[in-house]
Amino acid sequence: MSEDKVLLKAEDLKMWFEVRRGLFAEPIPLRAVDGVSFDLGVAEAVSVVGESGSGKTTLGKTILRLYKPTGGKLIFKGRDITTLDEKDLMWYKKETGLVQQDPYGAMPSFMTIYRILEEPLIIHKIGSKEEREEMVFKALEEVRLTPVEDFAFKYPHMLSGGQLQRVAIARALILRPSLVVADEPVSMLDASVRVEILTLMRELQEKRNISFIYITHDLSTTRYFSEKIFIMYAGHLIERGPTKSVLRNPLHPYTRALLSAIPDPDPENRKRFRDVPPGEPPSLINPPPGCRFAPRCPFATDKCKREEPPEIEVEKDHFVKCWLYAFWS
């Protein structure tokens, strides 16, 4: 991707946490994000797919600099933001937005919707009181919470999950960011509401030319939402590429397993068993050497168990981290 179209660049990004097993034990690292590299373009929507414990949520938070990376580099609009301190990051907080999984937990229960939306503006000293009022009302309109006067002075517990998630989206967008991270934004919502919210996010993303990182464990929603997919497993980005490519031609055995594990509504499903690998994702504290999926992989070789595979481009922009494709490079 040409440099001026790159919004965010991650180079071997690492986010390790110190975990203490006992009172006097040595702290050992939990390697939530263990060497992730990617490019994110301007106005590009990417789905980061992984199961719980894959590190996808930590990746999202590290990108927002809610954590300080323990290794590697994070470059935003050409600026290295890896080691910046809190006080030097206020401009970055204006450039980014966050939508979280739990709509009720994400809102302070004692503030009105108006106040919740006003907060980011107040913190960044944007506008006068009247100007902020206009901005808040416009934000509510944009997420289709109308009539705005009705919603503005309600408290979070008076709204449904779907409505609150719209407020969360409005809040994430009110500072006019270039990048939004949405962490499982619809997994706590009802099925019939999910599509509505995802559609709204997609519309706003396209209209405002915002880059979106959509974190999810639900592969089925990715093709409706993003141009690119990143597949995460045990802290590694094991496959990435255009959504269509990855879904049509999954390269990594894990991606294949994911796809075969997800049912579509088909009455024949009950008559057959699914071909999925056994076991569960490894602990991030003591990951196995070599490829992290090797213990469960039906195609694992000795090399897979010893050495970590490099990233290999198999088709255009479609990368995979797997020894099975070693001869491609």
């Binding site: 199961e51 509401v193 594990a261 579509d264 509504p265």
Partner: protein, 323 residues
């Protein structure tokens, strides 16, 4: 009719709350054959968990109305008092797999003992004998027998859910109610658990009542599908019919709102807000959100009537042959 293991007729469960009476289960009826799986699918607040709780009679304190006929192998268990139900029905004939294994497992008691406990309580087995049975079931659900002496926190999420399934199966019940049995699990672990449930269904000929909001997942186990909306069953069809062409407008919209991996389709969403269970809409409860609703739908509640294909649908349009 001899192979109908569970028959529910006109089941009511209302709760008393500060804001009014919640009509969680409002005149629900269905049959379950031996070895058959019926899926109860609906969104949060439609009453499906209340229905499950009603069948196994795990009720909270604020029950306003609990009525109807629940026949188990021909016997009306609603007539039993609490003590008799506990001894003879709950966990003997009907057991329950809870959503989220942490809700079912006692963190300070060893796993083996917890699986053995229903045998000691309901079948009066001694400790040694019960633990030996428990070992058998651990093997059945794919947990190594060394885990008999471990505590729940030592097991992974998937293994905990398997243990909970073992706990539900250990008394060899006729019916197992699965309440969102895989919601907290990874997709691959979920597939493994579903494989397990399929195997058990085949080997033990158990009837499942599979409750979930995840429509595609129901197709993994369901022989028949019941769609719940606002405390009522609005459609009850065979799986072969349902996934291909759902009859009720709500079922149809629900299917249309679910993203699929393998087919390209335009996603739709259902406008409006979910109905209140305290003050449900008049007539057909779906009418405020139904694109096909006309005056009869607003005024009169349609019956759950049988269509030519053998499905039961609660809709005037279907009843009058307009769909």
């Amino acid at each position: 009719m001899a192979n109908i293991v569970l028959s529910v007729r006109d089941l009511y469960l209302y709760y008393r709350t500060r804001k009014g009476v919640v009509k969680a289960v409002d005149k629900v009826s269905f049959d379950l054959k031996r070895g058959e799986t019926i899926a109860i699918v609906g969104e949060s607040g439609c009453g499906k968990t209340s229905l499950a709780r009603a069948i196994i009679r795990l009720l909270p304190r604020n029950v306003e109305k609990f009525d109807g006929v629940i026949s188990l192998n021909g016997t009306d268990v609603m007539k039993m008092d609490e003590e008799e139900f506990r001894k003879r029905v709950r966990w003997q004939k009907i057991s329950y797999v809870f959503q989220g294994s942490q809700n079912a497992l006692n963190p300070v008691i060893k796993v083996g003992f917890q699986i053995a406990e229903p045998l000691m309580i309901h079948k009066g087995m001694g400790k040694e004998e019960a633990l030996a049975e428990a070992k058998k079931y651990l093997r059945l659900v794919g947990i190594h027998e060394s885990f008999l002496d471990r505590y729940p926190f030592e097991l992974s999420g998937g293994m905990r859910q398997r243990a909970v399934i073992a706990m539900a199966l250990v008394t060899n019940p006729d019916v197992v109610i699965l309440d969102e049995p895989t919601s907290a699990l990874d997709v691959i672990t979920q597939a493994n658990i579903i494989n397990l449930l399929k195997r058990i269904k085949q080997e033990m000929n158990i009837s499942y009542i599979f409750i979930t909001h995840d429509v595609p997942l129901t197709s993994e186990l369901a022989d028949r599908v019941a769609v719940m909306y606002a405390g009522q069953i609005v459609e009850l069809s065979d799986a072969d019919e349902f996934y291909v062409s759902p009859k009720h407008p709500y079922s149809e919209k629900l299917m249309a709102s679910v993203p699929t991996l393998r087919t390209d389709k335009k996603l739709e969403y259902i406008p409006g807000t979910p109905p209140s269970l305290i003050n449900p809409p008049s007539g057909c409860r779906f009418h405020p959100r139904c694109p096909f609703a006309y005056e009869r739908c607003i005024k009169e509640e349609p019956p759950l009537a049988e269509t030519s294909k053998g499905s039961l649908v609660k809709c005037w349009l279907v009843h009058e042959g307009k769909r």
